[in-house]
């Protein structure tokens, strides 16, 4: 099984971090993974995105062109990636950052006011993790390797500085995200 994910938004929204988190979850579950960031002028305040592949088998192309799951956290990212989500795939939209709505009826669209929610809950900057929480809850079939516990383990491996505080905040964000899930 191979799941292809794109995460996108502005630099500073933690797009690359959320992608690394997913990749690390996959690796810790014994999967093959790849994480490929956009780089260059984009990362200097412009839009940023990364491709993450998680698979039971060796990964060929690490560049995701037709994602099974896409996270879009601003309007340019919505415009770029909404049309290319695989039929039957999932689109996660930070609706605090864009008012775009998908007209496609062959994909699952999830609109989450992640940035506002993060702000309200005193964890601003954690919109990415709120969406990650929602994704894990909504995409169990596409991400059978990933649970809240694997994400917690990944966060520990990724954050530096005041680990306890950051881990707590990440956990809060994950559960806020999961609450909004349909199931």
């Amino acid at each position: 099984m191979l799941t292809k994910i794109i995460l996108s938004g502005f630099g500073g929204q933690g797009i690359l971090f959320a992608g690394k988190n997913l990749a690390l979850c996959g690796m810790n579950s014994g999967c093959e993974i790849s994480w490929l960031p956009s780089y260059g002028p984009e990362m200097r305040g412009g839009t940023a995105n990364c491709s993450v592949c998680i698979s039971d088998d060796p990964i060929g192309s690490p560049l995701v062109t037709v994602p099974d799951i896409a996270v879009v956290m601003n309007t340019p990212s919505f415009d770029r990636f909404e049309p290319v989500v695989a039929s039957g795939g999932h689109l996660f939209v930070d609706s605090s950052m864009t008012d775009r709505v998908s007209a496609r009826n062959d994909i699952h669209c999830h609109y989450i006011a992640a940035s506002e929610t993060a702000e309200k809950n005193g964890i601003s900057g954690m919109a990415n993790i709120i969406i990650l929480g929602r994704m894990i809850a909504e995409c169990k079939e596409l991400l059978p390797w990933i649970t809240v516990d694997t994400v917690k383990g990944a966060v520990k491996g990724l954050v530096s500085g005041n680990k306890e505080k950051l881990i707590t905040q990440n956990m809060t964000a994950l559960s806020i995200g999961a609450i909004g899930a349909a199931s």
């Binding site: 990749a23 790849s34 490929l36 960031p37 990964i59 192309s61 690490p62 062109t65």
Partner: protein, 361 residues
Amino acid sequence: MERLLMKGNEALAEAAIRAGCKCFFGYPITPQTEISAYFAKNMPKRNGVFLQAESEIAAVNMVLGASAAGVRAMTSSSSPGISLKSEGISYLAASDLPCVIVNVQRGGPGLGGIQPSQSDYFQAVKAAGHGDFHLIVYAPASVQETVDMTYLAFENADRYRMPVMILSDGLLGQMMEPVSFPDTEIKLPEKEWACTGHKHRRTHNIINSLYLQPDMLEKSVNDRFMRYERVKSECTLSEEYLCSDADIVVTAFGASARIARSAVDSARKKGIRAGLFRPKTLYPFPETELKASCRNASAVLCTEMNMGQMVYDIRLILENTLPVEFYGRTGGNIPSPEDILTQIEKMNRRIKGGALSGSSI
């Protein structure tokens, strides 16, 4: 072995340090800068030297000095920077100095772009500088292979006293994959030829590339080319995937080969007998292995992230026994597996229709 999640560039730097690299000299350029940054952070803690040079030219000449002094030394850059280093690379080769040079390729020519490319194949394999010489050129296709080839690069640089290039690209350098580092203990070879001060116990050592007598220069070049024959028989590496019954053999190196592999898998699912041949060393080129992989093929498709460079070698080696077609993207664009699959399907239709065969070229 522990699996770590690392960027290709950082994993390469870590592998170099573990392989005994004592000195790194570099100059910032996207998309290889993480290599310098990793050395900058780690060399002071691990008894090594990191120095940011004033230019790529200075950096490669610092490598020349450190290598002449007998230590394992390395520099890295990206395409435009490798052009600047080519003077030093020629001198290193002519002075029989071991070192490792990394090219994390980006689109060219000129300043080009910063996105991944493979358009320095010719430069790496045919003309890394003026004069008759070669580098051993490794073309990794994954972060793990980048690590493994970095160890090999240092080892073979010393063994054959020649510069070795790792030809990476922006995709392999920037991507993260799980990677583990082998626990091999590194034995550094004695270098009797090095300039370490003679202590009045031997005559002075001279590291030099100047021979004003044509016969002497010719001899030095001939001697070096005899060494390359050893390199050819001892260092050639390649991989074949589903080639034994393949109608269409796709050839690709480095990052392109991963994409081609995905396309080959998709083609197989559609009932097309496709295979992949991947040279892991571009010099020496796995000529015999390529011929063997194509033994049952009707046609060959070469895919590269350039306008067609390795394809010349493929055609030369196959000596017109098979039609060899090319598909490439350039400028920093990365072909998708679907793009390559489309090419395979088109070729397959033409083979079935009798429009593509060895005699058609």
